[in-house]
């Protein structure tokens, strides 16, 4: 499907979406509460069949966190970027997509470790890189490293 067709089909299943087409891919921005039902449709519906989650990450925009999911369909060969906006930066949480794409397990562990986003219904959420008792989440913009020395 072309970006235009993707946009139309996406709006039909989920009207409350906003699009951003400035970059290389089509960006669909949805509220974080709606993530799981939307992703389930994107994975299983015949017209989308997004079977390959090739990148999962998070961006800290200070007033909100943006989860970013890069999806590709090996059948239809189209790509979409789904972004889920998390407005609560103190206790950020979002549904895990592990049940849909297994590759999400380690990637979500990484985002939990470095951004502090809690994934609900994740099979084994743990600090994958840092120690269990590490204070703070290093990739957040407000992270202060107490060991850093200014020269």
């Amino acid at each position: 499907m072309t970006n235009e067709e993707l946009k139309n089909s996406f709006t039909q299943i989920f009207p409350a979406v906003t699009f951003d087409e400035t970059g290389e891919f089509l960006n669909a921005i949805i509220p974080s509460e709606e993530l799981l039902p939307v992703m389930k449709v994107l994975r299983s519906s015949k017209e989308f069949l997004f079977d390959y989650l090739f990148c999962l990450t998070c961006v800290d925009w200070k007033d909100h966190l943006m989860m970013v999911y890069f999806l590709k369909s090996n059948t239809h060969n189209h790509t979409i970027v789904v972004k889920a906006k998390i407005t609560d930066t103190v206790n950020p949480q979002i549904e895990s997509v592990y049940d849909i794409w297994k590759t999400a397990e380690l990637n979500e562990d990484e985002v939990f470790d470095l951004f502090g986003v809690k994934f609900l219904n994740h099979p084994n959420l743990r600090r994958i890189f840092l120690e269990e008792d590490w204070v703070g989440y290093p990739l957040r913009k407000n992270y202060v490293d107490e060991h850093m020395i200014e020269l």
Binding site: G23, E24, T57, N74, K102, T103, E105, L114, P138
Partner: protein, 373 residues
């Protein structure tokens, strides 16, 4: 295997041991926690972070000329391809036209690096399963390629040769002759590799039908590179999203359908010959001209998001840059091939004997610094 404090027998009678972080077959500091019933693997859980350097965080305070240099320390066997990804994302954002000479040099160097990486896999796969001789055979060719790298860019491991707009220095005058020499040596030696390791019955028995990864699982687990291609997934970025003139070159994407460790071995062996084929098309046709396009001293990317992928020796490396218009990235994310391929290990090793876990790890071919970043 020496038992440590954390090794124990749990309530279900399963024996829980730690493989690594100082285990020779993990090729680095990876710790696998393994649940065993006798010798049969029940569950595997990877524990990471022993060499986590937070390259993504460091990149946020480095300029677009500097940040690529850190990526040589990720997958050090694909250092050229990692640097290339960082250069390409800047070129894409600023729409810089790279000179044809630079593109040809980049492709030749990257394919040499791919051969050198696969040949090291060949060496260590034999070593993991107890065959020491293939290691010495393979290092003849790896040493020759490393010498070319040293002559070209002054380094043997962390090359830092690709810069935004082209390459950092021109190739030496005897480059073409040296590369042809190495290719001839490699092709003469290739039949020996087939005989000594791939033709060895013990090696074949250890590999065949071990660690079968189905096509659906390979896609769901996000596997790329030779691991996914051995399971029948077409995922070669050089074919799907060509960069640096790969679309003009003749080569085959090696795809097998076996999905077991043996298929992964065969894919890598065949890929080396494809790389040789690519270099042969280019080596006599390097165009004359500039080696680097003119760029501003301080590179600033326009506001927005940029994604660039390249095919490293281990699969798809993606660089995701979020720019706010400043001279440093606002957020820099590396989608590394090894991190995704790692999640295949717990999945495919279930039900196998612990000795087979070594064979599986050998064919997944992990580079730990790329996982930890």
């Amino acid at each position: 295997m020496i038992l440590g404090e954390e090794d124990h027998i749990n309530e279900e009678g399963e024996f829980v041991i730690n493989m690594g972080p100082q285990h020779p077959s993990t090729h680095g500091v990876l710790r696998l926690k393994v649940w065993l019933d006798g010798e049969t693997i029940k569950k595997v859980e990877p524990h990471l972070g022993y060499i986590h350097r937070s390259i993504e965080k460091m990149s946020e305070s480095l300029s677009y000329r500097q940040y690529g240099y850190l990526t040589s320390r990720m997958d050090y066997l694909s250092a050229h391809m990692n640097n290339l990804a960082c250069a390409l994302v800047v070129e894409k954002a600023l729409q810089i036209q790279v000179p044809e000479r630079a593109q040809a040099i980049r492709v030749i160097i990257c394919e040499l690096a791919r051969i050198s990486s696969h040949i090291l896999w060949f060496a260590s796969a034999g070593l993991d399963l107890g065959g020491v001789t293939p290691f010495f055979y393979a290092f003849r060719d790896r040493e020759a390629i490393n010498n070319i790298m040293e002559e070209t860019c002054g380094a043997r491991l962390t090359m830092n040769y690709m810069v935004p707009g082209g390459v950092i220095a021109d190739v030496p005058s005897n480059f073409q002759a040296r590369v042809k020499e190495v290719l001839k040596q490699f092709k003469d030696n290739y039949h020996e590799y087939d005989e000594i390791l791939m033709g060895n019955v013990i090696f074949q028995n250890r590999m065949m039908d071990v660690g079968v990864l189905t096509k659906e699982d390979a896609i769901a687990l996000g596997c790329t590179g030779p691991v996914a291609r051995a399971s029948g997934v077409s995922c070669d970025i050089r074919k799907l999203y060509p960069y640096d003139g790969y679309e003009k070159l003749q080569f085959d994407e090696v795809i097998l359908t076996g999905g077991d460790s043996w298929a992964r071995c065969q894919v890598r062996m065949a890929e080396m010959l494809q790389s040789v084929h690519i270099i042969e098309q280019l080596i006599d046709n390097i165009p004359e001209g500039d080696i680097v396009a003119k760029t501003k001293n301080v590179i600033k990317l326009p506001k927005g998001e940029f994604y660039q992928r390249v095919e490293t020796a281990r699969g798809e490396l993606g660089v995701y840059i979020v720019s706010d218009g400043a001279s440093t990235p606002y957020r820099c994310k590396y989608r590394s091939p090894n991190f995704a391929n790692l999640s295949a290990i717990p999945h495919i090793s279930k039900g196998h004997k612990i000795g087979d876990l070594i064979a599986i790890m050998a064919t997944i071919d992990l580079i730990i610094p790329d996982i930890d970043r």
